[in-house]
Amino acid sequence: MSQRSFSLACLTPLVVLTAAFFVLPMARLVVVGAGGPQGVAGYLAILLEPRYRATLINTVLLASATTLATLVIAAIAAIFLQRHRFPGRAVLVAMLTFPLAFPGVVIGFLIILLAGRQGLIGDVTRLLGGGKVVFAYSIWGLFLGYLYFSIPRVILTIMAAVQKLDPGLEEAARSLGASPWAVQRDVVLPALGPAFVASGAIAFATAMGAFGTAFTLATNIDVLPMLIYTEFTLAANFATAASLSVGLGLISWAMLALARSLSGGTVAATG
């Protein structure tokens, strides 16, 4: 067998599998999305129909808030962990990254243990005399769940970026009389810019499409994945579910394409 036909033989199963179970189904999804009573205009419903538009805005706001909060938290922790060596540091790093493979459903349940009816936060606030605070099933619970989901991912990316920073630049700034804050603001944070954009895009795309966490927590909150789910399973509204899925997929893909062009890395958007 020649080299050329051998490599072709190596590639064929992958091409067949991907065509059958990914490319073809995705094409079908796009076609079904245009197959509703409104035809291709069904794709505009996500923007024109008030209920869908409100859900889209909700989801984008929630994903943006998650992204911003995650970036701030992860930046502080990652810079600290990379800049100091102390006993127990490795354990701390492990604690901050181990939830990486937790599925969204499990994270939703952990939020219930934290902020649900029998949750820790409610117990603490009751002991403090503030009444039982329960917010697991509100938008705040969902926000906390998304935060839980994205912190480990973002911390890893930012830690790697901090490690690559040239300490000489900071020393130079300090020797020129810059205060610690000025060094962080003018030297460290700008140098981490690409890592922020890349991991921020990942956090955003993940929060947009997170289904597992929303499935556990969002009984009364409309976010895009839950809307798609109810349209499909309860209302059997296949065309709408398909067009909304295509829209959601395009948003996530665009964000991650941006992330990849800036970082060169690959991170899965599961949830």
């Binding site: 067998m1 051998f6 490599s7 190596c10 590639l11 992958l14 599998l17 991907t18 179970f21 990914f22 073809l24 189904p25 995705m26 079908r28 999804l29 079904v32 502080i76 922790a77 600290f80 100091h84 701390l92 492990a94 604690m95 901050l96 990254t97 181990f98 939830p99 990486l100 493979a101 937790f102 599925p103 459903v105 499990v106 349940f109 952990l110 243990l113 934290l114 820790l120 935060l147 912190i151 480990p152 795309a205 947009m208 997170a210 289904f211 597992g212 499935f215 556990t216 994945p225 798609i228 789910y229 499909f232 899925s245 997929g249 893909w253 991650l256 690959t266 899965a268 958007a269 599961t270």
Partner: protein, 261 residues
């Protein structure tokens, strides 16, 4: 003095973030072995909830392992040769293929699941078997195997090794078995750990693709969260942790062993 204050402040902050991630997991482990969570751990420690979960969900848990290893087998058989071919061939077509197989990382699982349902939902026997879930898992995990193996090829100049073996007269098949696969081993191992971990925990696709007779571990979790008492749900989560944490630890150890670039 000032530096010490800044250090203490940052340490406290980082500890709080770690607590946010770890405390709920500890709560769930605790709740899973508590006699009555409402009354607290003082009500006694028990394994009855774990036993109950096993009786209720053993089938789902076992099916999850069957699917995870079937997914691994397929990603190995299909993904490793493909990674080699994509690397050696290069060119625009290879990049396009790589681009397409990576797309499932960017598209929410829910959308992929809907696409599969709309395409194959009518094929009854396939739809009802666990092979339907397997198809979803393979699509979702394949990029991890392919990219992980390709990453290794990119660092060791596999093309020169391959050409060297070819010039000595080895057939393509011999070279693949004796040169390519042994050199790709770190990438295969990392990819395999990732594939099994992801498959065991995959919910977004699986929830849409499962039927009452094909439930996996995470589907059972969602089921337990919705309909069982807190202790049972916690015990189930505990079982999930016991299965997934060793894989995570193995992944971290593997990542540390790799030479730092």
């Amino acid at each position: 003095m000032r530096d010490r204050l800044i250090f203490a402040g940052q340490l406290l902050f980082t500890l709080l973030v770690a607590a946010f991630l770890v405390v709920p997991a500890l709560l769930s482990i605790m709740a899973g072995v508590t006699e009555n969570y409402f009354r607290g751990i003082s009500s006694g420690v028990t394994l009855q909830w774990v036993v109950q979960v096993w009786e209720l969900y053993a089938d789902s848990i076992l099916l999850s392992f069957v699917i995870a290893f079937a997914t691994l087998t397929l990603t190995l058989l299909v993904g490793v040769p493909a990674a080699y071919a994509l690397h050696v061939r290069g060119g625009r077509l290879s990049r396009l293929i790589e681009e397409i197989i990576t797309l499932p990382l960017a598209i929410p699982g829910l959308a992929i699941a809907l696409a599969l349902l709309l395409t194959y939902g009518g094929f009854g026997t396939f739809r009802r078997s666990w092979l339907f879930i397997l198809a979803g898992h393979v699509v979702f995990t394949m990029p991890f195997m392919v990219r992980s193996v390709m990453a290794v090829f990119a660092t060791i100049d596999i093309r020169t090794l391959d050409e060297g073996a070819a010039s000595l007269g080895a057939s393509p098949w011999r070279r693949f078995v004796d040169v390519i696969v042994p050199n790709a081993r770190p990438g295969i191992l990392a990819g395999a750990l990732m594939v099994v971990t992801l498959s065991l925990g995959e919910f977004n696709l699986t929830w849409m693709l499962h039927t009452p007779l094909t439930k996996t571990l995470p589907v059972g979790l969602a089921d337990a969260y919705a309909s069982m008492r807190l202790e049972v749900a916690s015990a189930y989560t505990l079982i999930f942790f016991i299965m997934i944490v060793p894989l995570l630890v193995a992944m971290q150890l593997l990542a540390e062993r790799e030479p730092k670039s």
